[in-house]
């Protein structure tokens, strides 16, 4: 019952011609130069991800009460340092300042349990946009805890945005050399 149509016949013929041309065009190894020796090997490789994520990236202050955010290493590569892009808006009146402190455990009532927090960066004066860097190593999945401490805020709101940034390779763990 199957009868090839003219179109099918032409298509089959065209396919055969293309295949024949293809076989002819693929050169055998060193066909013109003589014999060629070839050896092959291989293996799979995968790359990691790097980055830190803040639980809170925007804070609004109407008083000098500190606020906190948790920064976690959400990548698959350990970090040797992290940067924070910080932007302060200036209220119409007053010129508040902000200081950032880091603690290895969550802050409790404004204090770093077991000691004092570590200041990162200098005192920032509103308005400003700047980048400050922490040299705290962060293992994969671990966190560090930041506290933003303002001064000079009276009723009028000041906004602080804080965005973690991780740049490779400088802020990643030390390079690993594998011999296998």
């Amino acid at each position: 019952m199957f009868r090839p149509t003219n179109r099918r016949v032409r298509r089959t013929a065209a396919t055969a011609v293309i295949l024949a041309l293809g076989v002819g065009l693929v050169p055998p190894i060193a066909s013109a130069a003589g014999l060629g020796g070839r050896a092959t090997g291989g293996g799979a490789v995968a790359t990691g991800t790097w980055g830190a994520t803040a639980s809170v990236t925007s804070m609004t202050f109407t008083s000098n009460t500190a606020q906190t955010t948790t920064v976690a290493n959400t990548g698959s590569v350990a970090l040797g340092a992290e940067s924070y892009s910080v932007t302060l808006t200036k209220p119409f009146f007053f010129t508040p300042t902000v200081s950032l402190f880091e603690c290895p455990v969550p802050w409790e009532r404004g204090a770093c349990p077991g000691g004092t927090g570590t200041r990162i960066g200098g005192t920032l004066v509103a308005p400003t946009t700047t980048t400050i860097t922490s040299t705290t190593p962060l293992a994969v999945g671990s966190s560090t805890y930041l506290q933003v401490e303002p001064t000079g805020v009276f009723f009028l709101p000041m906004t602080v945005t804080l965005t973690p940034e991780v740049t490779s390779p400088a802020q990643l763990r030390a390079p690993i050399r594998t011999n296998r």
Binding site: G37, V45, A46
Partner: protein, 220 residues
Amino acid sequence: MTTHRHTSKKERSHGKLVVAGLLTTSAALMATAGVYAGLSATATGAESVSSGSLNLTLSPDVGVGFSNFTGVMAPGDTDNVYVNLNNTGSLASAAGMTLAVAGNPVNALTSGSVPGEGLTISATQCSVAWTLSTGNCSGTTKTILASTTVSSLSAPVALSNIPALVAATGQVAHVQVSLGLAATETSVNGVAPAATVQGLSTTLAYTFTEQQRTGVATNQ
């Protein structure tokens, strides 16, 4: 019935004549052919010849050789494997060798789609077997491929400093192949840039190719 018998005898007699004629003609033709065969002459000689082979083999020098890297690579990391390239054929090879590397799947690690980023490969030859624990060569080393992006190795690239890498039959080259990752990227709040080499995987296929020595003209 008698008439029939008489007719058959006549036909038989004619048949005999025909057969005799054919035999005579055949004999005449054969005799003529024999005259021509007698005029030809043949001379023969023999020479045996065998072809050589050109075989390049790849095997681990120390360690596992080419195989899967089970960790995740970060920029600046180096993954070294150690392989032997051996000319096991009966023919010497020409000086020089090429290396091509292909990735499957093709992505930013191997395509060069992110400028300045991707996997890199370098290769160093040691005069003796490498020391796996340290990755050092106790003999002399030659850099045969400086750090090169895999995207630049999609077409065969000539290895340098290897005039006699495996030129002679049975000669072995101890080669350290170093895989690296070049990437300068900033992740913002845990998010990688749109064009990134982060979180990718591929399988690399290395192809080393040598050519036979120049043809030799012999007069004997």
